[in-house]
Amino acid sequence: MTQSSTYPATPHGVLNTGVNTGKLGMWVFLASEIMFFTALIGSYIVLRLGADSWPVPGDYLAVPVLAVNTFVLITSSVTMVKAVQAFDAGDNDRSARLLLLTALLGCVFLTIKLWDYNHMIHNEFKINTNLLGSIYYFLTGFHGLHVLGGVISLLVIRSGVKSGKLLGGQHFRVEGVGLYWHFVDLIWIVLFAILCLV
């Protein structure tokens, strides 16, 4: 449905490319996010291969905790897909519940991460201990910030879905936040494999 508009004459969303304006905007934003994480993960890869010696991540990082965290984020991706499907089917309440569940899983991910951080800082693995520390905290820190942003927007969209206030114009927002959430999960999958395990 074309986005109805409150402007006098021109319809707000004239879809020249056939792609919904919100979706195009979200994918354009994700393209810039890809470049952001390219710079981060790329710097890690290049610095690591250029370094003479590199500590074994297993000694510093609690791999089982991170594995659990990965499962948490994957399940949140599933609940996100279910939420979008529910919203498409028009079942606002179920969709709102699933959005809340996704947001909660996001919070669980963040709490596990913070607990992991202070556990590591406790036994002297800080951001300036070595290059692995700096890169680990920097990359997972920025990823955490993105997860936090995702959780907040999930809650905002959920309140819109719950009150049914989502006009035609904002119909796309549920799928938009879904795309963003899957992207954040995808980045964690790459980070987990490259940074924490190898």
Partner: protein
């Protein structure tokens, strides 16, 4: 979306989501940035003209202990802030922020940007960046002093002589980058998805094409520099060492980098220039597009080879992202990479030559009206001609090893960046002022402003190139009299100094013209330049929602003197042919 008919509260007016209000906000921020950074330029040139003497007014005000002579760290701060504020807080707000926000929705026949709230956010994030930059002046140790390129380890370590302002500087630039990113998302989606009926991609004015290419480059490369700046921020404050290297003794206890372990300084240069070269194209693309439109509008004939110009722009869009290495020929980058980047860089001159030729063919057999926008557009053709051609020297590896970090480079990028974008800025302001403010600017003052700026600017930047090439005058040095081989070039520095002061004073003509016309210029008609693009179809100044009746486009953007236009000689894009 805010309700349009209820009286607008102050809050909704300040944080307005109307693209025209945001355009004006960007314009004012950009003009302030231009003024401040311009003053820095005058101070730099005065210091180089008279290095040993006391600085006229500020001397005894600030530097009593050196009885008025400017200390070198202040000089470092001057050219750092001159570069950074010009690029991020003067040119970006005006050329991309103001022109983009004002022109894109109007020229595409849309009612507003695709995401109005994100658009409002993009201005206020830029404003926050500007506030942080201003605060960084008054932090102990003064503002950043490591050059606008902020190479580590100088800018990456707190106690290497660069003030604490550098940490705030990094945040300020990161905010300005985020603002460009948010704006770029808006511009790309609006250009792709919000064109009115009949406005195909090949009927868009060239200015919109320029802004589209700018936004794509912004989108892809601003995040990369934001990552690099955050890394350096962590290096300065959190004790990480992404870009810091050095002997073991440094990292041991008591060393300057105690407790950190080595990264690589070259990594920052690659990340920065990976963004840096697309950045200089980000700044020039809107001007290329605007000049293409203006030359056609004021020669009363279509832009020559519209499709070829658009194709060249897209080619340059790709090429500009794979050539950043020519900034690093002497920086320790491997010579093999240097040769690869030389051959990649020289290919950019082919698409540039094509659209430059199209500019000249546009004014060929035209009927030229020398209004201020046209004069500034012709000025851009001249200065970008010089700038583009001197770029060839610096693309070559062996020649760049001689010319790098001399005033030849400074002269080159001031021609392409400062002169072309400077004239492009004024061309845009004089062209859209009637539509933006509903009043006309004084045309003869505009012409005087052009002639005087053109003469002094060409002289100043040409002299820079001369002393750089002939005398190998190193860049960024506070006192050229230290070196004997620069002796004969000191009076050239004095000439450049006075030329720059004259250029600065001449800008007052514009400032006077701008503000008096806003207050008491005579009202402007809907289409003062008899141009055909859609923004002149909207009423002056355009209401919220821009077009009372949705326009439908019937022809290309510059169909002047086409057979179908009959006696009047021009038809706007929205008028059906008779």
């Amino acid at each position: 979306m805010s309700d349009h008919h209820a009286p607008q509260s102050l809050l909704s007016r300040v944080f307005s989501t109307d693209h025209k209000v945001i355009a004006r906000q960007y314009l004012y921020l950009g003009l302030v940035g231009l003024l401040v950074a311009g003053l820095f330029a005058l101070m730099i040139r005065w210091q180089l003209a008279y290095p040993g003497d006391a600085f006229p007014i500020l001397g005894n005000l600030f530097w009593g202990e050196t009885n008025g002579v400017m200390p070198p760290e202040f000089y470092n701060m001057l050219f750092t802030m001159h570069g950074a504020m010009m690029v991020f807080f003067a040119i970006t707000p005006i050329v991309i922020g103001a022109f983009g926000n004002f022109a894109i929705p109007l020229q595409l026949g849309a009612d507003d940007m695709a995401f109005p709230v994100v658009n409002m956010l993009s201005f206020w994030v830029m404003f926050l960046g500007a506030v942080i930059m201003t605060i960084s002046f008054f932090v102990p140790g003064g503002a950043a002093g490591g050059g606008w390129t902020a190479y580590p380890p100088l800018s990456g370590v707190a106690n290497y002589g660069v003030g604490h302002g550098a940490s705030l500087w990094l945040l300020g630039i990161a905010f300005a980058g985020t603002s460009s990113l948010l704006g770029a998302v808006n511009y790309v989606v609006t250009t792709l998805n919000m064109r009115c009926a009949g406005m195909t991609l090949m009927r868009m004015p060239l200015a919109v094409w320029g802004l589209f290419c700018t936004s794509v480059l912004n989108l892809l490369w601003v995040p990369v520099v934001a990552a690099a700046l955050f890394m350096m921020f962590m290096d300065r404050t959190a004790g990480t060492a992404f870009f810091l290297a050095g002997p073991g003794s440094l990292f041991a206890e008591g060393g300057a980098l105690a407790g950190q372990s080595g990264g690589q300084p070259l990594l920052f240069q690659h990340l920065f220039w990976g963004f840096g070269h697309p950045e200089v194209y980000i700044l020039i693309f809107p001007v290329w597009g605007l000049v293409g439109d203006l030359l056609s509008t004021f020669s009363r004939k279509p832009a020559f080879g519209y499709k070829a110009t658009v194709l060249s722009m897209i080619t340059i869009l790709f090429l500009s992202q794979i050539v950043w290495g020519h900034h690093m020929f002497t920086s320790g980058m491997s010579p093999l990479l240097g040769t690869a980047f030389t051959f990649l860089t020289i290919t950019i001159s082919v698409p540039t030559a094509i659209f430059f030729l199209n500019w000249l063919c546009t004014i060929w057999r035209g009927s030229l009206r020398f209004t201020p926008p046209m004069l500034f557009a012709l000025g851009v053709v001249f200065v970008f001609g010089i700038g583009g051609l001197t770029g060839l020297f610096l693309a070559l590896q062996a020649l760049d090893i001689w010319l790098h970090d001399t005033y030849f480079v400074v002269g080159h990028f001031h021609f392409t960046l400062a002169a072309s974008v400077f004239f492009g800025t004024f061309a845009g302001v004089y062209y859209w002022f009637p539509k933006m403010f509903g009043k006309r600017m004084n045309q003869s003052l505009g012409k005087w402003h052009f002639y005087l700026s053109f003469v002094s600017l060409t002289f100043v930047f040409f002299m820079m190139m001369y002393i750089g090439a002939t005398g190998a005058h190193p860049r960024r040095i506070a006192d050229p009299t230290v070196y004997n081989f620069l002796g004969p070039f000191q009076d050239a520095n004095v000439l450049i100094g006075w030329g720059a002061q004259f250029l600065g004073v001449v800008q007052l003509i514009f400032v006077w013209n701008f503000f008096t016309s806003i207050r008491s210029g005579e009202p402007a008609s809907d289409n003062p330049w008899e141009a055909s693009s859609l923004e002149w179809v909207a009423p002056t100044p355009p209401p919220h929602g821009n077009f009372p009746v949705a326009p439908t486009v019937h022809r290309g953007p510059h169909e002047y003197n086409a057979p179908e236009t009959g006696e009047r000689g021009w038809l706007t894009q929205a008028e059906p042919s008779a």
